[in-house]
Symmetry: C2
Subunit: 298 residues, 2 copies
């Protein structure tokens, strides 16, 4: 590991944010981050009423990568995720898909022990650690860290975990990378607005890739190659992730688009990342063994 960055919270992705750290392409950084509530809920007695709702979804950063220029791609390899020893969940009125069925807010501390989250006396949940917020600065506008987009941000995607490589389009010099909002466990959709929210640290390798064009983040892991899109509704997000995949395959597969459409329909999966943020996020997942049959390379 080359660098450490500790809890330098930003609450929006913006090209105007001053770098918290400057590194070179290829450097590895260990990034420490608060939970999505800036660690304000630590005991069952911490009331939601007393919480400062301005300090939601902190991301640690931004990190300026010297070689990154507008139009490049930033390749982020997640080498390690370390979680603190307790998480927290919240559910309540107006929050998430079931928000209209709930009265008032409730929170719940979830101790982490032996790689499980202790939900209650009966149930311990095996962890699936993941990163909720991760991305780069957008080109002009400032985007709240609770919102996803082509720059990444609050995608709440289960696949953003140890071993995954994510590619982001770079919109501004230095890329201005940041991450936060770790989850100890979460289901696809994050229907109640929180996963098991938790503080911790993430070790990432950051590399600049030249000559690759992207509209939206793309993820690669051992099993699959995945496009990710965030749009005003789920319908649009699914459409965009599917179209992004078709566009990428069209350039790299030895077949016409009709056959690509059949292939995607037969073996590709449209999946839901989250449906509770200001934009919704979907992904299109192609099994890598299928792509490798055709010598696909990204």
């Amino acid at each position: 590991m080359d660098f450490q960055l500790c809890n330098n919270s930003i609450f929006k992705f913006s090209s105007k944010n001053a770098p918290a750290l400057k590194i070179n392409s290829g450097d590895v950084v260990e990034i420490h981050t608060y939970d999505c509530f800036s660690n304000q809920l630590q005991t069952p007695e911490d009331t939601l009423d007393a919480m400062d709702w301005e300090r939601i979804n902190p991301a640690t950063g931004p990190i300026y990568i010297e070689e990154a220029k507008e139009g490049d791609v930033l390749k982020v390899t997640i080498e390690e995720i370390n979680l603190n020893n307790q998480g927290v969940m919240v559910a309540g009125e107006g929050s998430g898909i079931l928000g209209h069925m709930l009265k008032g807010m409730e929170s719940k501390i979830i101790p982490i022990k032996d790689n499980e989250g202790i939900f209650d006396e009966q149930l311990s949940i095996p962890l699936n650690p993941m990163i909720g917020v991760i991305g780069v600065a957008p080109s002009k506008e400032e985007i709240n860290s609770g919102t996803p987009g082509p720059h990444g941000g609050n995608m709440d995607n289960l696949m953003i975990t140890t071993g995954a490589t994510i590619y982001f389009p770079v919109f501004t010099d230095g890329a201005l990378f940041a991450l936060g909002d770790l989850h100890a466990a979460m289901g696809d959709g994050e229907i109640g607005v929180t996963g098991i929210e938790i503080a911790g640290s993430v070790k990432v390798k950051l590399e600049v890739v030249k000559g690759l064009k992207l509209n939206n983040p793309v993820l690669e892991n051992k099993e699959s190659f995945t496009t990710i899109a965030s749009e005003i509704n789920l319908e649009e997000a699914v459409n965009q992730a599917t179209i992004d995949m078709a566009e990428i395959l069209k350039e790299r597969m030895p077949m016409g688009l009709h056959k690509i459409a059949m292939l995607m329909s037969a073996v590709g999966h449209t999946e839901i990342c989250q449906v509770v943020d200001p934009l919704k996020t979907a992904r299109f997942v192609m099994p890598k063994w299928v792509l490798e049959t055709y010598d696909f390379k990204f």
Copy 2:
């Protein structure tokens, strides 16, 4: 096996359809069915232009179950799926998510051999046999067999496969069950409008359950308990499947709805069945081992 029913095609689910077979609750029926094109595409030379598009999505049935009355539930256990030795796919202009990027229609015969679909010389796709169209007659309206709904129909849900049990609300005396549209393989979303479409037969056990109320189909298999909803768009389908799950758990779990929302958010998954039929279909999947921790019984 008690009964056989061969290719008695219906093209709409309707309480007005005359029964093709009458059985008693608990009987097992082997149902033979054409592919979604009524087997019109058999060789690479069969042109799409010559196809009768009125004969799309045949379902075999309907089967009248003597004990079934309006307000009951029909429990369908899928004991066996047998596929013919070749399937077919279609992609083209105006069809599916990529339809706007395609000019003209193309089809492709896919031989089935050794439990794989031969996509081309490079790629053989392992089969995941499933039933695209399955359901009962709706209460009043007649619903085209290409459209899903509370009665089931064209849900194109990967989970509707061997070993699964599906529960349908019964809207009319006898239930009038039918199924068709087998797929040898399909990805979630069915983004190009076809999976590997294929003819074959399905062995199902049909049982009437009294005293259980359902809004929409529910599926149970070894791993999970799943609600399924079809709505005008994916957003609404996801919302309804999630709400259906919350309503079912609320009656059967030893905890309040806030905690149920947290549990669903932490371990439940919102997933996509299909996004290309006249209504879109989503499912909410809860791991059964989690529910069993709380002695959940449906």
